[in-house]
Amino acid sequence: MASGGSATGEPVEPVAHPKRAHYLISLGMGATVGFVAAFGESFYAPLAFPVLIFSQALFSIVVAVAVAPLVEEPAKSLGLLLLKEEEKLTFEIADWTVLGALSGIGFGFMENVVYALGVLGYGVNVSLTLFLMRGLLTAPLHGITATLTGFGIGLWQKSGNARLLLIPLIAAMVIHGSFNLLASII
């Protein structure tokens, strides 16, 4: 591994910048973790059932605005967390931010692929249009929010205070939730 401990017992050299493998891990984990997030969301959604007592239309809005950001934002940073916590890699804040952006782009890309495949029955044109439309809107959103989380992980590593991760993570959730609210209203 890149940061690696040394077998000879020499002091561990901190990695100044991520290697190609780390970028790939972030992108790949971002892309695949969407399936885990979808699994988690399916369990959180029933918690919003009390809303159905008051309004049926509100249920899907609550799920989109609250549940999706709550599960997807931490999920997107999973690759980065593995690099930091399991591989014990140390990067600069800017590097973590770039890794975060990549994980968001991977997540957004895979989400769009799944949505496009879902409407393939309506024709290739519809599927491609949806893919491109979502590519222009939601992929950048996921990129931006995951960039914030990556920045938070960088802050956490630099300061050693895990609470500093919470502020950018909550900001990312608020942006994601606001986007979903606007999309639901429009």
Partner: protein, 231 residues
């Protein structure tokens, strides 16, 4: 860590439904007064978000603290074992007793190496995040290692301290260890099934997760006091 932490997840459930229903009623009332549905929508969204965030925090905070405490204790014990091995080795060499001390030193080193290999650090943030995004499914593994690790660690630490006692007696240092009752080897699957069937058994499970390590700490404090007096 206080055993009262077992109430944290319960409070989470109460807080979630309390906040959600409170906001829905409040939003509905405001909406009727103003004649729009915005009040109800706002109440539902704000109530759900606030309720779920508070509930998640109350659910995972005890786990976060337990994992952090486990890591901290394992790290501390690693240093203690290393220090004791070096101390015994150094004193034995000084007094020309190395030959008499080989069994104790070999056993202490073996236990130390085994513990170093098994007692790995688990990232509290990573496991909390994994538990949140999978709706607690991976939390089952958190429960597993928090249930199993205290017993395994306790057995190793007790065996190590017995070797320290034997080595100290050969060095003409009398260390009287207090009675160290081993922590019970709890059955993860039995606890899981009982929690699944009754739900409320999770309260007891969380209680033993907290108190097992508390008991281990208390026993170790007494041993360390005895050791310090003889150094």
């Amino acid at each position: 860590m206080s055993a009262l932490w077992i109430l944290s997840p319960l409070l989470g459930v109460v807080a979630f439904f309390g906040i959600l229903f409170g906001s829905l009623f409040l939003g509905g009332t405001l909406g009727r007064t103003s004649g729009t549905s915005l009040g109800l929508a706002g109440g539902a969204i704000a109530g759900f978000i606030a309720g779920i965030i508070i509930a998640i925090i109350l659910f995972v905070l005890p786990w976060y603290r337990l994992i952090k405490r486990r890591n901290g204790h394992f790290r501390r014990d690693r240093m203690l074992r290393e220090g004791l091995i070096n101390y015994v080795r150094g004193l034995a060499a000084e007094r020309g007793l190395e030959a008499k001390m080989t069994v104790e030193l070999a056993t202490m080193t073996a236990i130390h190496s085994e513990a170093n290999g098994e007692e790995d650090e688990k990232s509290p943030v990573l496991w909390v995040v994994l538990s949140i995004i999978t709706f607690g499914l991976l939390g089952l593994y958190v429960w597993y290692f928090l249930t199993k690790d205290p017993h395994k660690h306790d057995v190793k630490q007790l065996a190590f301290m017995q070797q320290v006692q034997s080595a100290f007696s050969k060095l003409e240092k009398t260390v009287v260890f207090p009675f160290w009752k081993s922590l019970p080897d709890r059955s993860y699957f039995l606890y899981l099934i009982l929690t699944w069937i009754t739900g409320l058994f999770s309260l007891y499970w969380n209680y033993v997760l907290i108190t097992d390590f508390n008991d281990h700490f208390k026993a170790q404090w007494q041993v360390e006091d005895q050791l310090l007096a003889n150094l």
